[in-house]
Amino acid sequence: MQRFDYILKRLVMALFVLLSVSFFTFIIARVVPSDPAAAWVGPHPTREQIEKATIELGLDKPLTTQYLRYMDGIIKGDLGTSITTRQPILTDVRTFLPATLELVIAGMLIAIVIGIPLGVFSGAYRGSWLDHLTRLVSIAGVSMPAFLFGLLLQLLFFRYLGLLPLGARISTEVSLFNPIETITGIYLLDSALTGNWVAFQDALKHIILPAVALATYPVGLAIRMTRSTIIEVLSEKYIMAAKVSGIRQRTIFFVLALKNAIVPTLNALGLAFVYSLTGAILIEIIFSWPGLGTYITNAVLSVDFPVIVSVTLVMTVFYILINLLLDIIQAIIDPRVTLQ
């Protein structure tokens, strides 16, 4: 029952946060910029154009009315119109979101496969040379600007070795002669589902470098958090008790310790996901990856507020939902979290 209460409480909280976030982004879009109508018209606007845009955008109405109209739009799935492309933002987001998700998921997979085992070993063999080396890798990972690492990867694997492409999601020839049928918008998945192996191979080649660059921070984070979790769990009294009673080292480690390290590790992954989501913005610029990051950066450079705010909103909603999901999973695995 307590677990159910906890989950319900988290749902209500998430709803409250979502509402507040929408209000906040509204403020950023409408109140902070000095003149949104002028921005809407474009460079060198005339007075008539601005007045017309003010009425068109509803900026002459009181703020509360504006907010309600904005919320009404969001609920109906209308994120507004981009100033530069003059396209509905929702259409653009639908095109770019899968590209970003594909990159983030690939980065996360790398972070999990490399970071968690290294963190576990490092924590289990604390003080060994492996531990020292791993800690160095992890601290370098969290200190390295991802965009710099991306550039270095390009220099090595494209310029010097010629092994991997410089950027983009897929080669032009492949997109012309072996086009990927869109199902989810995630190239690797779609090409595998339709059996288009030429495109699959090409898409895989394109995603390696950006995904590795994106994974630098999450790998470092995963190592650090997993390591300290393992150290903490191994110093718990029940582990000592198990040692004293002569249970085999391996059993203690894999059966008793790892089980209790799952929840904090999930937390680490949640954090890693968040950093990947925003880190993707920088990586996409370097690798000309046509995703939300490139979309928002172009919007920033052309002062396209509706796009900036909508992308912020979409990414934040994703972030909140992921955190909610993690909390619920935790509550199911480890009932102790519901007591806090």
Partner: protein, 308 residues
């Protein structure tokens, strides 16, 4: 791993007459015995020194401040230009010195403002509890619901690209972390007997917060701030990289990478040097923060001095 105070190498004459060894001097000892921490401190001092005394350290001070020197465009590293020249022929080393001024001060200012807002709010929330606590914590929830870099980008975009606006935007997203940290510390302090004693003799709450709570939360805040300096510099560089931060011709490490990346594959020294500067400084702050945390924690302090 059993170690005693003797391994902290405190000699008899260093112990004051009352036999009391101060917490700070213990921290300093633990810190000093960590070679990585000392190395980080040296790296940071070099960069800070370079930023402050930039005009005296380079013969190309005018170029460091932005003057172009078109005739020497894209020179690779040489004796005259140790790190080469950039797309306007400016000495890259001079740009790194001057760039440190904006990149480092963004980090320091952001953390300073975040501490200035977050620490008092956290102490108030933790100390008073009730509806004040609820209100303040719900506000921090909202801020922390945004992916960190994203809110700063949106705010910086709304305020317009400049050094000050970048600083404001990042600080705005950063203070909630300090509010949370200090609130948790304050709640556990509140139960301690010295605060109860002060309350029972009628010391006003604001005075208790100022004289008893704040001094006692400063160690964790200091450790957190050191670690955050690196992250704040990284976020500042990221915002400059997007094109929102410090605008040319003012030198800035993030902006240098943003402009230099176009030429990177053929002429990597320009963006590469700025990237290396960011990496070294952030790495040093992270190592320093780790060492401070270990030095501040009596449990790890002993194992540190036992040599790792």
């Amino acid at each position: 791993m059993t170690t005693t105070f003797s391994e902290l190498e405190i000699t008899a004459d260093e112990i004051p007459h009352d036999g009391h060894i101060s917490e700070l001097s213990l921290m300093w000892r633990a810190f000093r015995s960590d070679p990585l921490a000392v190395l980080s401190l040296v790296i940071l001092l070099i960069f800070i020194f370079g930023a402050i005394f930039a005009p005296f350290l380079t013969p190309y001070a005018a170029q460091g401040q932005g003057d172009p020197n078109i005739l020497e465009k894209f020179n690779p590293p040489s004796k005259a230009h140790l790190l080469g020249t950039d797309y306007l022929g400016r000495d890259v080393l001079a740009r790194i010195f001057y760039g440190g001024r904006s990149s480092l001060s963004i980090g320091f200012l952001v953390v300073f403002v975040a501490v200035l807002i977050g620490v008092p709010l956290g102490a108030i929330a933790g100390f008073y509890g009730g509806w004040i606590d609820n209100l303040l914590m719900r506000i921090t929830d909202i801020f922390l619901a945004f992916p960190p870099l994203l809110l700063a980008i949106a705010l910086a975009a709304a305020l317009g690209p400049s050094f000050t606006n970048t600083m404001i935007a990042i600080s705005f997203t950063w203070w909630p972390w300090y509010a949370r940290l200090v609130r948790a510390q304050t709640i556990s302090l509140k139960e301690r007997s010295f605060i109860e004693a002060a309350r029972s003799i009628g010391v006003p709450s604001w005075k208790i917060i100022l004289t008893h709570v704040l001094p006692n939360v400063m160690t964790p805040v200091m450790v957190q701030a050191t670690m955050d300096l690196g992250s704040a510099i990284l976020v500042g560089a990221s915002i400059s990289f997007i094109g929102l931060g410090v605008q040319p011709p003012t030198a800035d490490w993030g902006t240098m990478i943003s402009v230099g990346r176009i030429y990177f594959l053929e002429r990597p020294w320009y963006a590469g040097s700025a990237g290396a500067a960011i990496f070294l400084v952030v790495l040093a702050f992270n190592l320093l923060g780790d060492a401070l945390r270990d030095a501040a924690d009596p449990r790890t302090r002993r194992s540190v001095s036992a040599g790792r």
